[in-house]
Amino acid sequence: MILVCGGLADGVTELVCARLQDCGYPYRLLDFARFPAGYRCNVRWTERGPEGWIATDEWHLDLDDISGVYARLLGADDRAPLPGLDPADAAVLRTEADLGLMALLEDIACPVVNRIGGGLSNNSKPYQAIVIRSAGLGVPPTLVTSDPDAVRAFQAQHGDVIYKSASGVRSIVRRVGDEQLARLDRLRDGPAQFQAFVPGRNVRVHTVGTSVFATAIESEAVDYRYAHLDGLTTRLEPVELPASVNEACLRLAQACDLLFAGIDLKQTPSGEFVCFEVNPCPGFLYYERHTGQPISTALAELLRGRAH
């Protein structure tokens, strides 16, 4: 039995459930939209790890029967209020329930997509860049600085420069232009991250266990995910990567303790690959819908315990 922890209002979780249904793999949905209301559990940690069960009025699931867990958290706005509680108390109690569930998912023996700890590297892009480089992938020239002169020198060296947050907050990529250069004195409030703009073709890689799915993206936008906001178009197609790049992507996912990862690459005009970041909770729906790549099927096999 597979445990899916997420919300059906989220398209990615919906796709995972639909694929499990298609494959005939039984699953139970722990619906984050209403959790913990309506759910019961009893989990006991012994010398062997966690054992016990999770249940609703409709089903009862022994932890020993779980072959894999897929977890995708919902934002606070997508979660129903807990009945009979004021919002402040409800928020604390919901966090308490979430932490209990996370403690279980961190320690349960079966594959978990993904355990929380592995995904935290995504909260620091420059830290993640060190991990990426250690895995054998190139990274774009990156400057994190609170020194306006350093930014000017970096731009003089690289010409086209972009900036983006160093953390996972407000993570939108923008080009550095005259407007941004005029505001460089604000760096005194704290450093910002700049990168040389890397020309070429975007490639999104999804690693699922030891399987690799690469998707090439053609777009005029600096950040193709937001191309529609600027009235620009995007085209996606499956692509085969050199074996060395595939292997480096798998090493990277393993280094981040991610059974399922979304890795953003760019192939330069000279054929080199550079890596921008690793997403621990990839919204792969967009890529699978546009290319037909069997990402969700590979995920279903992984959760079923049949991955390569």
Partner: protein, 295 residues
């Protein structure tokens, strides 16, 4: 120059600074590393990583860093959203800077520790178990009947009772009487509760590198426990960690893991040994400790 990141009145920072001074080595205690006069340039490309945090102290001339607290941004003058954003940015940058340094860093954080500071014992269970350390039994349950069973089991075993330990904070409540158990049931109406076995008096130990320093006399089975503690510290990549061991069902079990040990809890001889071990760890050959640094 050694950098000791923490508040100026932090006992550990003060002790290490004095210990380094005894060896004729300079150390600076810094409460907010990214605040002026810091002027960070952190540059990563195909040639490797170079960084400088302070204008008159190139990072390559930093001999070692002790990480106690990296400070928090003053919220004054910030809109709430902007403040949260800047705080996240500073944390992200500090994590990268510490990991890029080519000198001993105690403790050099990885993301899972950096973003989960103050985590309860639950988060360490897997690694503790793998290291061969015993742990108190824990139950997370929404079922009043299961909580009662847990209580009976502990009472039958002659143990010290049960403790309710919310996961959202570090507090714990001994469930000493029927009234306390009754109130627990009302919480269970909304959310599962985390119960654990109560334990006897705890013995504090600090792991510093390969050394295990007990606050009081080591327990009789100290060699076995110390070997397991070293295995845990190595697996968790912690050079400096405090662990409390207490009897649970008549066996020593880990009841606390603290990656930022509080020296105030230690007696003077133990404190002196901890400081000496930290100074030794900081002054080791940089090449032996540097890890994951772009060459």
């Amino acid at each position: 120059m050694f950098l000791l990141l923490g508040h100026s009145n932090d006992t550990c920072c003060q002790g290490v600074r004095a210990g380094l001074a005894d060896h004729g080595l300079d150390a600076r205690i810094i409460a907010s590393p990214l605040a002026p006069p810091a002027k960070l340039t952190w540059h990563l490309d195909a040639d490797g990583l170079t960084s400088n945090l302070y204008p008159h102290l190139p990072d390559r001339s930093i001999d070692g860093v002790l990480v106690r607290d990296t400070g928090w941004l003053d919220p004054a003058g910030w809109a709430e959203d902007d403040f949260a954003y800047m705080q996240a940015e500073l944390r992200a940058v500090m994590l990268a800077w510490l990991n890029g340094l080519n000198c001993p860093v105690i403790n050099r954080p990885d993301a899972s520790q950096w973003y989960r500071s103050g985590v309860p014992l639950m988060a360490w269970r897997r690694q503790l178990r793998s290291a061969g350390l015993k742990l108190p039994e824990v139950v997370i349950t929404s079922e009043p009947g299961e909580a009662v069973s847990f209580r009976r089991r502990l009472e039958t075993g002659g143990d010290n009772g049960a403790v309710y330990s919310p996961l959202t904070n570090s507090s714990s409540y001994l469930l000493a009487d029927d009234d306390a158990w009754s109130r627990l049931t009302s919480v269970q109406a909304h959310v599962p509760v985390c119960l654990t076995e109560a334990h006897g008096p705890a013995a504090l130990a600090c792991v510093v590198g390969d050394e295990v320093i007990w606050n009081d006399a080591p327990p009789p089975d100290a060699p076995l426990i110390e070997a397991a503690l070293r295995r845990f510290a190595t697996a968790a990549a912690l050079i400096f960690v405090e662990i409390a061991i207490a009897p649970v069902r008549e066996e020593p079990a880990v009841v606390l893991v603290e990656p930022r040990p509080r020296l105030e809890r230690y007696n003077e001889p133990a404190r002196t040994r901890i400081i000496a071990a930290l100074v030794a760890a900081l002054t080791r050959d940089a090449a032996a400790d540097a890890k994951r640094v772009a060459s």
